[in-house]
């Protein structure tokens, strides 16, 4: 637990070298399951490259938003960090120690105490047959933490910290008796009970009503202030990331396209995908025709992770794609102020030109045509 998270405003980040968690070259590849014949002949039917080599730093006390559409690999990244899914390649470092290979060791227990996950669906995360009390106490029981009589007190404390007061009113109920917002608070209590340092939150509010969302978000931010938590906030909603994140990382098809302080990434994106996402994120304000004209509505959908385009994986849909993009994948270039973008245009710190309204034909590339990108009407 650090004090670094307490004495600063939300707009700044922690001290730049206080890296709590680091991913280096992390990859998660899944083999496409073949039929019986394939298994006998040991034929590979393809690889799903869910995460295809990312470097990520999580700084102590910050809220880092991992933003992406479906197929971007953001959820898989979160699962790797909480060790629900093993990584295929890469190094993981937590608080200076290498935690790449913890499977089957006792150290895994200590790891799980310090890094927890909040799931997306409060209706599914709770076992319908398990009481709230059992649910919140379970981490303590499984990991043999504390004396049995202290566990009940810790459970109640966690429930109250999550806003369910008095805890005794809620503890012995079952999930179906609670509303969505209350259930998500139970999930948060379950994550808090072991007093973790890092919480990976995977779309924690997307299934809740709008007016409930803000309460849960407030709770999460308050908890950060009180306990010095660090959040990896996974979401598809760029606007939500804009409101609560210190830094934003944008993922596309298994790679990080851009990362940096929230203000910079949103206000001056250096990657065309980020620029397009920002331009189409709806706002609670009727757009003027001038604003409408600035929308970059990309054609087609994200290709599936088994057919990743060569070169820059975004090039088939990119309005600026040129020859180099089709053959060589750009690394993340530093564009100043702690912001980096993976784009050949960003090399040398150039900023993006203003976009036209619509991208016409997608740039043909062998892999892209396999997916059947649709044409604009």
């Amino acid at each position: 637990m650090s004090d670094g998270g307490l004495a600063k405003t939300a707009d700044g980040t922690g001290s730049p070298h206080d890296v709590l968690y680091r991913l280096q070259g992390m990859k998660v590849h899944f083999a496409v399951r073949g039929g019986f014949l394939d298994t006998i002949l040991r034929r590979s039917r393809g690889v799903i490259r869910a995460v295809d080599g990312i470097d990520l730093e999580l700084r102590r006390g910050e809220v880092l938003a991992l933003v992406g559409e479906s197929g971007s690999g953001k959820t898989t990244t979160g699962r790797v960090i909480v060790k629900l899914t093993p990584q295929t390649d890469g190094r993981l470092t937590f608080d200076g120690k290498d935690v790449t290979d913890l499977w089957g060791t006792t150290a895994l227990r200590g790891y799980r105490r310090r890094i927890q996950l909040i799931f997306q669906d409060p209706y599914e995360t709770l076992n319908p047959k398990q009481s709230i009390n059992d649910f919140v106490m379970e981490p303590l029981v499984v990991n043999d933490i504390g004396a049995p009589r202290d566990r009940q007190a810790a459970t109640f404390a966690a429930l109250e910290a999550a806003g369910l007061r008095p805890a005794s009113d809620f503890a012995f109920r079952f999930p179906h008796e609670l509303s969505g917002g209350q259930r998500q608070r139970v999930v948060i209590a379950g994550a808090l009970v072991m007093d973790p340092e890092v919480i990976v939150a995977d779309e924690p509010v997307s299934m809740l009503d709008v007016s409930i969302r803000t309460e849960l978000l407030r709770l999460m931010l308050d908890l950060r202030a009180e306990r010095g938590l660090t959040y990896l906030f996974i979401t598809h909603d760029l606007s939500l990331a804009w409101v609560i994140a210190d830094r934003i990382a944008v993922m596309y098809l298994g790679k990080i396209m851009e990362i940096g302080p929230a203000e910079q990434v949103i206000r001056s994106p250096h990657n065309p995908y980020t620029q397009a996402l920002v331009s189409v994120s709806p706002t609670p304000e009727p757009p003027t025709p001038g604003e409408r004209a600035k929308r970059t509505i990309l054609v087609g959908e994200t290709p599936d992770a088994a057919h990743v385009p060569p070169g820059c994986r975004f090039h088939p849909r990119c309005p600026y794609a040129f020859d180099r993009c089709r053959v060589e994948e750009p690394p993340l270039f530093d564009v100043g102020g702690g912001q980096s973008a993976a784009c050949w245009l960003a090399e040398g710190g150039r900023s993006l030109p203003v976009l036209p309204h619509r991208i016409q034909e997608p740039v043909p590339s062998p892999a892209a045509t396999a997916i059947g990108a649709e044409l604009p009407a």
Partner: protein, 313 residues
């Protein structure tokens, strides 16, 4: 949905009584549930203490009637070829048939559940192996398997074995039924487990560090219990019926008059040819009623315990 804490009462158990009453109301509100419970209740009562209703089991020595008498006021179900009161035999038969059914069901359910849960959850080679094994048992016809296994099991347990008043030959039937029926249960439970293990709360149990054993016990099992109960009831029906069949073809214990055994005796005594319908009808009707009631109850339970509701919010 925001219910205040006090409405449902604080404390662990106050909800349970209400849930039990809810469940009973829903079960008995259905026609199949009601009929099943009534018939089953009736036969259970008879089975628990048959002597209370008709006196001790009549044997060759204590037979009091004239052989093969049609039903009279003294003997409402008539007599068998030894002069025994068929009402007496049929009521005692309830106990034997249902006890055998119960024991066989227990074996089936225990093996079937364990195999189903482990195969479904662990997956991979273990799943493959267990499923091939269950396929084997599924495919073989029960009667054939019974005929083959009976002498083997008899050898194993010894001819003097007895359990709860059931002697060796009937114990063999119990074990045979158990062994041949577990495969269906295992398959059904396994498919439920397959979908359960993808659910988010299983992931959550993993992320806090639970091992597979704990997950299977605390998360998977409670969520298949309903299915197991419904399966058990249906298995019971099958077990009673199978026992009747096996006893009828002569694998039973002549001294323990289960309904199938009574039918076997009727067959040997030539009752059909002699027109002694009273010898055949009571045990046959009893089997039909019990199997029917279990089936109705099983279906009702399945619907009540495993509702397929869509709405969540």
């Amino acid at each position: 949905m925001g219910l205040a804490g006090t409405e449902l009462g604080a404390g662990r158990w106050s909800g349970t009584g209400r849930r039990a009453r809810d469940f009973a109301a829903r079960l008995l509100g259905r026609s199949d549930g009601l009929v099943g419970v009534v018939i089953l209740g009736f036969f259970t009562l008879l089975a628990l203490s048959p002597s209370l209703f008709v006196g001790p089991l009549q044997t060759v020595l204590s037979a009091t009637g004239t052989p093969l008498e049609p039903p009279t006021s003294t003997y409402p179900f008539g007599t068998d070829e030894l002069g025994r009161d068929l009402l007496n035999l049929t009521v005692h038969g309830a106990r034997i048939s249902m006890l055998i059914g119960l024991m066989a069901t227990l074996i089936t359910i225990v093996i079937g559940s364990v195999v189903g849960i482990v195969a479904g959850f662990v997956g991979g080679a273990v799943d493959n192996a267990l499923m091939r094994l269950s396929d084997f048992f599924l495919v073989l016809p029960t009667i054939v398997l019974a005929l083959i296994l009976a002498p083997i099991i008899l050898d194993v347990i010894g001819p003097q074995a007895e359990f709860l008043g059931i002697r060796a030959t009937l114990l063999v039937i119990v074990i045979v039924i158990g062994l041949t029926s577990w495969a269906t249960t295992a398959r059904i439970i396994r498919s439920q487990v397959l979908s359960l293990k993808e659910r988010m709360f299983v992931d959550r149990a993993r992320v806090i560090g639970s091992g597979p054993g704990r997950i299977m016990r605390r998360h998977i099992l409670p969520n298949v219990v309903n299915l197991i109960v419904a399966q058990a009831v249906l298995t019971f029906a099958t077990a009673v019926f199978t026992e009747t069949t096996l006893a009828f073809i002569g694998l039973g214990d002549p001294a323990a008059p289960s309904w199938g055994q009574i039918l076997n005796n009727a067959q040997s005594a030539g009752a059909p040819g002699l027109g002694a319908w009273w010898y055949i009808v009571p045990p046959a009707v009893s089997v039909v009623l019990v199997v029917l009631s279990f089936t109705l109850l099983g279906n009702a339970l399945d619907d009540v315990l495993n509702p397929k509701t869509g709405q969540r919010r």
